[in-house]
Structure formats: structure tokens, C-alpha cells
């Protein structure tokens, strides 16, 4: 079922025409209202009049999370504070949080997009939506709440934590849809099993899961253990909150981005160049209807690719593939995306090996080379050369099997890999400069 047939199934040309109109309006508004954008456009030698086609978006400078921090708390707001009806903030792992403000219309749009998202997941007004996202500064709780009300479903504002109570409410109130993080849904499944609750006795049928990366195998596990359809939802507070995109229950393949409100681009995180549809890179989002804090070309740091093939559900909005990581730590080696976490998972599976490693990337004769340095410890050290060579051969093979790239493995003495403030520097990229 489709919540807003008119907008969700607009022909591509109509979506793009609408995007252009709204993009122009947004660019004009931020140029007039946000000193930061006026300055950054001027630096790039661009005025709003230069935006004549959607391709012209590429001329505009990116907005980074750091720019939001630099303008903390309200510097990027495009309306006076008396028009802001809600303020959210995302937790910053370092320093100050990033702050976002919503006008009445922004909240209205958000509710609409969350209602669309709920319906895309298979939920209807007849559902009892058990909202276990945290209520508070985090956008998850209230975002899902407003969307569930807009849908007309019965929403239980559970928030996170207190699993025993969650289970009781779930049983007694007949929760049929749960919104939470994928990891919490698995935790819940285990808690249900411990309490001796048979999931077949619950009304639960859909999980709308997001706010952290998860894998296809995790989906299978969640679906099997909870007996539900597990639907991936995407959002980030800077852009809106949950409901920027969602999988449709029909395909469960790729998340539709609500393109009448956001323009997605995929860029090469190293060069900033826009990549064609289908190629993997960093997701960049531009808000085109937001009033409180419109963002131009916000670099999400999330790695995905655009799926432009028409979807069986009938929605015409582009999809993004399930997120595969963060560009903060992504390396592209001979065209292959490599995350230090992937290497780490290989090393962790080898018995006795401590995950103390460093990746050295170099370019020789225009060819990238990856060297994985791994610290030897007493458990893995042998007095026989043969054993040590078998160890490095195994690491090399496991990395090749997982990532498809050939690397050189170098065994190094313990504590030779520099550690700063307890956190090791994982990557040394010598390709630049």
C-alpha cells in the first residue's frame, strides 16, 4: 500500500522538475538567510541564479558536519527562532552535538514522510506501533511517533530500555509493529526466549529497524527469531531524522529516498566527484523543502550506491543500497572499497591473533598496494619459520577471500604499531602528495 500515491509514484520527469523548482527556492533562501552559505557560495563564485538545472547542484560546495559544529548552535538556521517549534540534537562523540531546528511545516513534512515509511514497511492504521526508539534529543522517538500518529495507527511511546516492561506491554497491548535498532531487536528476541515467550503468540509482524548499520545475515536472524518482516529505515538528524528513506516490503531491496524532499548524490569520498548511478561511494543529501535548517549537499559519510532500476512496488523514487560503512575510514584500493573493520574481522577469526594491525597503502607505478602489518604476540609466535609463514599466508588468503584484494602481510614486533590515546592509528595512506 502507498500512503501518498500522487507523490510516491510521480513519473521521473515530474520528480526532477519538482526537485529543480524546490532546489532553486532552497538555494535562494539559504543565500538570503544564512550568512554561512552566502559566504561559501561567494567563495565558490556562485549565485542562486547559476542554478538552472539539477546538474548545477554539483557546482555547490558541500556542507560538512564540522560546518554545523562551527556554527553551533543556531548558526545554520534559516528562520528566526520564533518560527522554530522543535529542537533536536545528535550526540557528538567528540565535543558539542549538532543542533537542528524544525518549523511547524518541517514537523508536518517529517510526519508525512514517516507515515509514508510506515506504510511502505507494510504497516497500516490498524497496527499497534510499539515505538522503542529513544524519546528525547535523539530524533528517533518523536520522529517515529509523529509518523505513526499521522498514519492513524495506535502508537505506544515506549522509548528504549526496561526490556521486561517492553515484553509485558508487547504481550498485553498486542504490539504488531516495533521500531527500534536492529541490535535491540535481537536483544529483545533473546529476552523473549529467556522469559519463555513463544513469538508465535505475539501479534508482532513488522520491525522497522535503523539508526545503526546491519547486514543481510542479521536481517535473516531477526526475521527468524522474531517471526517478523525486518525493514531497514534510514535517516539522520542533520537531514530530518528517521524516514529520509525506507525499504518497501515488496522488494526489501534498497531504501527509497523521498526525492520530492531530498536530492541524493553519490560522490567519490576522496575527490568529491559525483559518481554515476550504480557506483558505490558516499551519500550526499540536499534538503529541498526544509525551512528550519536547510542543508546543501550534506556529506553523510555513509557509503552506499544508488539503485535506479524501477521498483516492483510502484514507487518511482530512487533507492539506495543498504549502507555498507562510513567513508570516514574507507579506503579505495585498486577500485575496491576496503574498511579497516573488515580486515579486523579477518584477524579476529584467526586464533590467538590480537587485532593490533595497521594498513599501509602505497602507490607504485600507478598501482595501489596494501600492506597489512600485524603484531606478533607470544601466542602466535613460533620458533619455526614455516609456522610463521603459514600464519601470514593464512591472513593473506582470508583477506583475499573476503575482500577480493591481494595484500602483503608483514608480521611485526608487538607494540610497534603507534598507539595514540589508547586508539591505534589503523591506516597510513601514502598515496596522496
Amino acid at each position: 500500500m502507498i500512503w501518498n500515491e500522487d507523490f510516491e509514484t510521480l513519473p521521473r520527469e515530474a520528480i526532477e522538475a519538482l526537485q529543480l523548482t524546490r532546489l532553486k527556492q532552497t538555494v535562494e533562501r539559504v543565500y538570503a538567510m544564512v550568512p554561512y552559505y552566502r559566504e561559501s557560495f561567494k567563495k565558490a563564485g556562485i549565485t542562486p541564479a547559476d542554478i538552472r538545472s539539477l546538474d548545477d547542484l554539483q557546482q555547490l560546495p558541500f556542507t560538512l558536519k564540522q560546518d554545523m559544529r562551527d556554527n553551533y548552535p543556531y548558526g545554520l538556521f534559516a528562520v528566526p527562532l520564533d518560527q522554530i517549534v522543535r529542537i533536536h540534537a545528535s550526540s557528538g562523540t567528540t565535543g558539542k552535538p549538532t543542533v537542528v531546528g524544525y518549523t511547524k511545516r518541517d514537523i508536518d513534512t517529517w510526519s508525512e514522510l514517516m507515515a509514508r515509511s510506515f506504510m511502505a514497511s507494510g504497516a497500516t492504521r490498524g497496527d499497534v506501533i510499539h515505538n522503542a526508539y529513544g524519546y528525547g534529543l535523539f530524533t528517533g522517538g518523536l520522529g517515529a511517533h509523529y509518523g505513526a500518529e499521522r498514519l492513524g495507527a495506535s502508537v505506544i511511546p515506549m522509548s528504549g530500555g526496561n526490556t521486561k516492561k517492553q515484553i509485558m506491554i508487547m504481550q498485553d497491548f498486542g504490539s504488531s509493529v516495533i521500531t527500534c535498532t536492529p541490535s535491540y531487536s535481537l536483544y529483545l528476541a533473546e529476552a523473549l526466549a529467556e522469559e519463555g515467550v513463544n513469538v508465535a503468540d505475539l501479534k508482532l509482524r513488522i520491525g522497522i529497524l535503523g539508526a545503526e548499520p546491519w547486514s543481510e545475515s542479521m536481517r535473516e536472524e531477526i526475521e527468524a527469531k522474531l517471526g517478523i518482516k525486518a525493514i531497514d529505515i534510514y535517516g539522520l538528524s542533520e537531514i530530518m531524522g528517521p524516514g529520509v528513506g525506507i525499504e518497501c516490503v515488496e522488494a526489501q531491496h534498497g531504501l527509497h529516498i523521498w526525492e520530492d524532499h531530498f536530492i541524493p548524490e553519490i560522490i567519490d569520498p576522496a575527490t568529491g566527484k559525483v559518481l554515476p548511478h550504480g557506483e558505490k561511494g558516499e551519500l550526499v543529501l540536499t534538503t529541498i523543502t526544509k525551512e528550519g535548517i536547510p542543508l546543501i549537499r550534506y556529506r553523510t559519510r555513509d557509503i552506499t550506491r544508488i539503485i535506479s532500476e524501477p521498483c516492483i512496488c510502484g514507487r518511482t523514487h530512487l533507492r539506495i543500497e543498504r549502507l555498507s560503512g562510513r567513508s570516514d575510514d574507507m579506503l579505495i584500493i585498486r577500485g575496491v572499497n576496503v574498511f579497516p573493520s573488515q580486515i579486523e574481522s579477518v584477524l579476529c577469526q584467526i586464533e590467538g591473533l590480537a587485532p593490533h594491525y595497521q594498513l599501509i597503502v602505497e602507490r607504485e607505478d600507478n598501482l595501489d598496494s596494501l600492506e597489512v602489518q600485524v603484531e606478533v604476540n607470544e601466542e602466535t609466535f613460533s620458533d619455526e619459520v614455516k609456522q610463521m609463514q603459514e600464519l601470514s599466508a593464512q591472513i593473506r588468503k582470508d583477506i583475499k577471500d573476503l575482500l577480493g584484494i591481494t595484500c602483503k602481510v608483514r608480521l611485526v614486533e608487538p607494540k610497534t604499531i603507534a598507539r595514540s590515546e589508547g586508539k591505534a592509528q589503523r591506516v597510513i595512506d601514502r598515496r596522496q602528495g
Binding site: V376, N377, E378, F381, S382, D383, E384, V385, K386, M388, Q389, R410, L411, V412, E413, P414, K415, T416
Partner: protein, 143 residues
């Protein structure tokens, strides 16, 4: 019947070998025999010393990865075919030699060879059955 050997993981970096020997010297440890196996990236230094535990502790404190392994010290007649005879014995006994190296000192008229076997117990049994002299650890450390 077994002799304790320490092995040290050494990256191919200048000065590392000197650091090992220096820290042993500082701790008053005397090296009795040594062998260095090297690859393009790293080396494995094996040592027989007079004070194994002192040596191991000193090296660990300097941040080296150190292991202790049991090896066998065998007296080998210092004449043509001396070693060949012993290797034949081992071969017939089905014992696998991982590596071996010679001891600096002689034991009377005989040379001493350090053997690393995959199964030292079996090797010692084979050697003794064939009247080959195997040296006690205490004897080797103080030679």
C-alpha cells in the same frame, strides 16, 4: 634430557639484533649457542643461554616476543660421517628434524649439535636406543 631454547621474533630493522645481545649482556647472560633464521621481513633468533629465565625476562621487558622451546643437544663424533650416522638413526626411527645448529663448544672429543624435533620425546628415545649420547640441559648451559 631436553634443553631449553629461547626464540625471539626480530623484525628486519637495523639494530634489533644488537639490542637483543646488549640486553642479555646487561643482565649477565652468556650465550652458549645461537642460530638465526631469516626471511625477507623478519628473523627468528634461537639461543641457548646459561640463564634461560633471566634472559627471557630481560628480553620481554625490552618489548621482545620471546618463546621457550624444548630442543635436544646431541653429542656427535667430530669425524667424517659423524653427523650423517646420527641423521640416519633419526631417519630410521621416523623422527622429523625441524632445524638444527652447531654448538660453539666441544664436549671432549665430540661436537655438539642442537636439534629441534617435532617430537622431542620420541627423538630422545630413538637416539638413546642407538647409543647416541644426549646431553642434559644443566650440562649444556654451563659448557
Amino acid at each position: 634430557m631436553k634443553v631449553e631454547q629461547i626464540s625471539i621474533f626480530i623484525e628486519n630493522k637495523s639494530g634489533r639484533l644488537a639490542e637483543v645481545t646488549q640486553s642479555l649482556g646487561d643482565s649477565g647472560v652468556n650465550i652458549r649457542a645461537l642460530s638465526l633464521a631469516d626471511t625477507s621481513d623478519f628473523g627468528i633468533l634461537r639461543l641457548i643461554v646459561d640463564k634461560t629465565d633471566v634472559a627471557k625476562q630481560a628480553l620481554k621487558e625490552r618489548g621482545f616476543t620471546v618463546n621457550k622451546t624444548a630442543v635436544v643437544a646431541v653429542e656427535v663424533p667430530d669425524c667424517p660421517s659423524g653427523l650423517a650416522g646420527i641423521l640416519q638413526v633419526l631417519d630410521k626411527g621416523g623422527v622429523n628434524v625441524e632445524y638444527m645448529y652447531a654448538f660453539v663448544e666441544r664436549c671432549g672429543e665430540n661436537a655438539v649439535i642442537i636439534f629441534r624435533f617435532d617430537d622431542p620425546e620420541a627423538a630422545i628415545k630413538v637416539l638413546l636406543e642407538n647409543d647416541v649420547r644426549v646431553l642434559e640441559g644443566e650440562r649444556v648451559y654451563t659448557m
